[in-house]
């Protein structure tokens, strides 16, 4: 792995100067977006070198457009200058998707944060990409509606970022991921031209290009507006916390619940290490001595939720549960969810850094995969905190470490690769909801053949012939396609980790 020396200042690496090009681009961008919205000083752009992942790379320019027209003009100017464009929302992504790996212009869409027309009868809303996920629901909750995708970062992450990563969340189990809630997007293409894909009516004729854009991680163009689907709040929502002395019992109960034909709205698991972090950071009242807790939510008509709770309770009891607690008030329910949603962020109480995996396995393989994750942790001598969407079989093993310990990062990346390999070998996949970004691109060849990747490459060229949108993301660097399948992940040269 090639790493840059952390002690060298930004801009002192191998990056080649192209002063005249960038200087005139900066002048042009200032004219487009206004001087206050174009950042070039190191004290300004440095905060855009990282997202929610552990990777860093400095952009040369950060620009914050305030309108769709400005986005178009910025794209035209940057592309004319031959400078790569990296779109960014709130920068909460976990795979380095918003890290400008090869430098370039970061277009932060944070100022495009207006909620447009909300049509409650038609159950749609038009939103700009910088709108915060939770704000969509907040605006319509009083009328009894909600926006379903609920990534843990929903209080901070943007709808645009969710679209790019096709984000999921705990309630993906019942409602699906972002693409299932996106009816249309307006995108700005490489030539600066806008294009509407999809529309208010679902399943329109022609190719589903909206679906292609959702999850494309900013590699095809920039989403400047989206039409999202709104849902009616359920009549009854009940939440249950099941405490287990052994992880193995907890994973088996997950298999049993879904096997019994119950489809909870959410089925989340946290292991002891995660519980410890949550209780240290922002306590939610999870028992610290339990090996695992399950958070189960059921939604629907009252008769259903009551009976489903009873059935789940019975399954837990057959599965050697220590304790089952049912939230009796909305406040109790919120407290349980706050602990779950803050789990990632709370890991900072245990170690300065974490490297999160986003593997997926068939639910039925969950127990053995969790055992395998624990073995990998022991084998590599790393501490792993698990917090994940058990109902989906979407694991989030977080490997805790301290970047400053020599060799720690290498070990962590190898352990991460081993975990993902185990997921793929169990018939699963590399990512459930965080995307590929920079972190996992070299593993793409584990799940896709060259022909598969070639088809994707052709689609990319169809939209962006010179691949100037978010270069270096999602797809393996060219030689890796033919490399040995177990090649360790390479973090691209020039990246700060």
């Amino acid at each position: 792995m090639e790493l840059m020396d952390r002690d060298r200042g930004p801009g002192t690496g191998e990056r080649k100067a192209a002063w005249p090009v960038l200087t005139s681009l900066v002048i042009e961008l200032r004219r487009i977006a206004g001087g206050a919205h174009v950042l070039v000083a190191p004290e300004d752009v440095i905060v855009y070198e990282q997202d929610g992942s552990i990777l860093q790379a400095m952009p040369e320019i950060v620009v914050l457009p305030g309108s769709i027209d400005e986005v178009r003009a910025i794209v035209r100017a940057a592309r004319a200058a031959g400078v790569p464009i990296v779109p960014r929302g709130s920068g909460t992504g976990l795979a380095g998707g918003a890290v400008p790996a090869g430098g370039g212009v970061v277009i932060s869409l944070a100022r495009l944060n207006r909620v447009g027309e909300v049509d409650l009868r038609g159950r749609t809303a038009i939103v700009e990409p910088g709108v915060i996920n939770l704000d969509v629901t907040k605006g319509i909750a009083p009328q009894g509606y909600f926006y379903a995708p609920d990534p843990s970062s929903q209080a901070a992450c943007s709808v645009g970022g969710n679209l790019a990563n096709n984000s999921g969340g705990p309630h993906t189990l019942a409602y699906g991921v972002t693409t299932n809630h996106t009816l249309g997007v307006e995108v700005v293409l490489h030539d600066g031209n806008p294009l509407w894909l999809g529309g208010h009516v679902p399943d329109g004729p022609g190719y589903d290009l909206c679906g292609v854009f959702v999850g494309s991680e900013g590699t095809l163009g920039i989403v400047v507006q989206g039409i999202v689907r709104l849902m009616r709040a359920r009549e009854s929502v009940r939440t249950l916390l099941a405490v287990f002395d052994r992880m193995d019992d907890a994973t088996r109960v997950v298999v049993d619940i879904t096997g019994a034909g119950i489809v909870p709205a959410a089925l989340e698991m946290m292991d002891q290490t995660t519980i410890e972090a949550v209780e240290r950071g922002a306590p939610a009242g999870f028992p610290r001595d339990a090996e695992a807790v399950l958070l189960v939510e059921v939604e629907g008509v009252r008769e259903y939720t009551e009976r489903a709770l009873r059935e789940i309770d019975a399954i837990c009891r057959r599965g050697a549960v220590r304790d089952v607690r049912i939230a009796q008030t909305e406040a109790e329910r919120q407290a349980l969810w706050k602990g779950r949603k803050g789990a990632f962020g709370s890991l900072g109480t245990l170690a300065p850094n974490y490297y999160v995996m986003d593997g997926v396995v068939p639910r039925s393989r969950l127990p053995e995969t969790m055992r395998r994750v624990a073995e990998i942790g022991r084998a590599f001598g790393v501490r792993i905190a698990n917090v994940f969407h058990a109902g989906d079989g979407n694991l989030h093993p977080n490997i805790l470490f301290d970047m400053r310990v020599p060799g720690a990062l290498d070990r962590v990346i190898e352990a991460g690769a081993a975990i993902l390999r185990a997921c793929v070998d169990a018939g699963g996949s590399l990512t459930g909801e965080h995307g590929i970004g920079l972190e996992k691109r070299e593993y793409m060849s584990w799940v896709f053949t060259e022909a598969d990747l070639g088809a994707m490459a052709r689609i990319r060229r169809a939209f962006d012939p010179t691949a100037g949108f978010n270069p270096g993301k999602v797809f393996p660097s060219p030689p890796a396609c033919g490399e040995a399948r177990r090649a360790p992940a390479k973090i691209p040269a020039g990246l700060w980790v």
Binding site: G9, L22, L39, D44, G52, T92, S108, R111, A156, A282
Partner: protein, 439 residues
């Protein structure tokens, strides 16, 4: 697959000095931030600017980069650190419990006070010579009172706009300052506790009546109230503006004074002071003589509402018929995690209705001297706050902190909404008076 766009890069200007690592910024709090970003949307300045440099995560990132010597603590860097209100809403949002306030204070200690060399000099003078000396504060306020009544105000229209705006922020100085009739005021009814009272630096001069109300409420709840003569300013402004030397001296003086009083609790009715004094333990952690004493002292510090709820209200409360909304002072809600207690006390007052406003725990823009140093941002936040207040249709706001009270009052004046601003202790005191009249 991507080759056609060749990455081009803007090199840093060669004339910039190579930054050096700053050991005093290498503080353990930095390691706890895992860059998750959940703080962004809770940060008032990020909400307004949408710039990550003006977000908690961004500022932590900047401090870390400066600590490692990746960037230098330039003027621009200082601007980012000082646009922060120190409201600490990010601490409430942070799942890892990162103590952002400490990181920002460490950075500000390195940077020194904000602003131009002149304003730094003025601020430095104030932090070192004015706040530590309550007698000087009193003299200044007398001068101000004289000025406000003399008709000299007419001259202000000759001042530059910026100064004129600052002048407009000055609150009217009341006729009477807080002057307790004795150093110890006895409990009314059976004695339940013995407490000391921080009269503060601004409170006794601008809000003397609130201090009196607070003391009456404490006494009616069976407290002997001590008001130590030797107490001083809590040093909150010094701590927030990187003036640690003076701050530590002020802290030591308060610790000595209050510990000598031998009380069950030190009661504070200004949220900013309470938050600062609860952190004396951290401020003096490296002081071999005071570290332990500071810890002990901080344990004693209680916000008046916190203390009263723990103690349990006694005595007949009469009706106070009004509809109010409650503004969580940042340094109470985020700094001290006191949110429920003031609401419980309001709920205990018969006839009073509480209507919650949207984002009651978002900063009103007061933030110590922030409304003077960053008038535009402060005003933007105040406008938002006044709009939230207006949507509740309440005719009064309860804000148990002098800074918030002044700020919301100035907002009410500007918007001419007719909203009045009360301290929680004001209303409790009224309820007790009504109760007395009724019985």
């Amino acid at each position: 697959m991507e080759t056609a766009v060749s990455p081009t890069h803007l090199p840093q200007a060669p004339s910039r000095p190579r930054p050096q690592p700053i050991p005093s910024l290498q503080i353990p709090e930095l390691d706890q931030c895992v860059h998750c970003g959940l703080c962004l949307t809770q940060c008032p300045t990020y909400r307004v600017t949408h710039l990550e440099t003006e977000s908690p995560r961004g500022r932590i990132h900047l401090v870390r980069a400066a600590a490692d010597g990746r960037i230098a603590p330039t003027e621009r860097f200082a601007e980012h650190l000082y646009l922060c209100l120190m409201c600490r809403a990010c601490e409430t949002a942070c799942p890892s419990g990162v103590k952002y306030g400490r990181i920002a204070e460490a950075a500000r200690e390195v940077l020194g006070p904000p602003g131009s060399p002149f304003s730094r000099a003025v601020a430095g003078l104030a932090f070192r010579r004015l706040f530590p000396r309550l007698d000087r504060m009193r003299t200044l306020m007398k001068l101000l009172r004289f000025y406000q009544r003399s008709g000299l105000r007419a001259v202000t229209r000759l001042l530059p706009r910026r100064l004129r705006e600052m002048e407009a922020l000055l609150p009217p100085v009341p006729d009477r300052f807080f002057a307790p009739e004795a150093e110890v005021l006895p409990a009314i009814g059976p004695r339940r506790a013995r407490v000391a009272f921080l009269s503060g630096c601004v409170m006794p001069l601008l809000f003397g009546e609130i201090n009196e109300a607070t003391i009456r409420v404490l006494r009616r709840n069976g407290c002997d109230v001590l008001i130590p003569k030797d107490q001083g300013c809590c040093a909150a402004l010094n701590v927030h503006n990187g003036e640690m030397v003076a701050a530590k001296a002020m802290a030591r003086r308060n610790i000595d004074t209050f510990l000598a009083a031998g009380v069950d609790a030190v009661i504070v009715n200004a949220a900013g002071c309470g938050a600062t004094m609860k952190e004396y333990g951290h401020l003096l952690a490296n002081d071999p003589v005071y570290a332990e004493k500071a810890q002990r002292f901080s344990q004693l510090v209680k916000d008046a509402s916190e203390f009263l709820v723990d103690l349990g209200l006694t005595g007949p409360l009469g009706p106070v018929r009004m509809t109010v909304t409650y503004q969580d002072p940042c340094h109470l809600a985020h700094g001290q995690r006191v949110r429920v207690q003031p609401r419980n006390l309001l709920a205990a007052i018969p006839g009073l209705t509480l209507v919650e406003m949207e984002a009651s725990d978002r900063c009103c823009g007061s933030a110590g001297i922030y409304n003077i140093t960053h008038p535009e941002m402060s005003q933007t936040l105040l406008d938002e706050k006044m709009a939230s207040i207006a949507r509740t249709k309440a005719n009064a706001v309860v804000a148990p902190n002098p800074g918030c009270m002044l700020q919301i009052r100035s907002g009410a004046q500007r918007t001419a909404t007719g909203v009045t601003v009360y301290h929680l202790m004001d209303l409790l005191d009224r309820a007790y008076q009504a109760g007395e009249a009724g019985s």
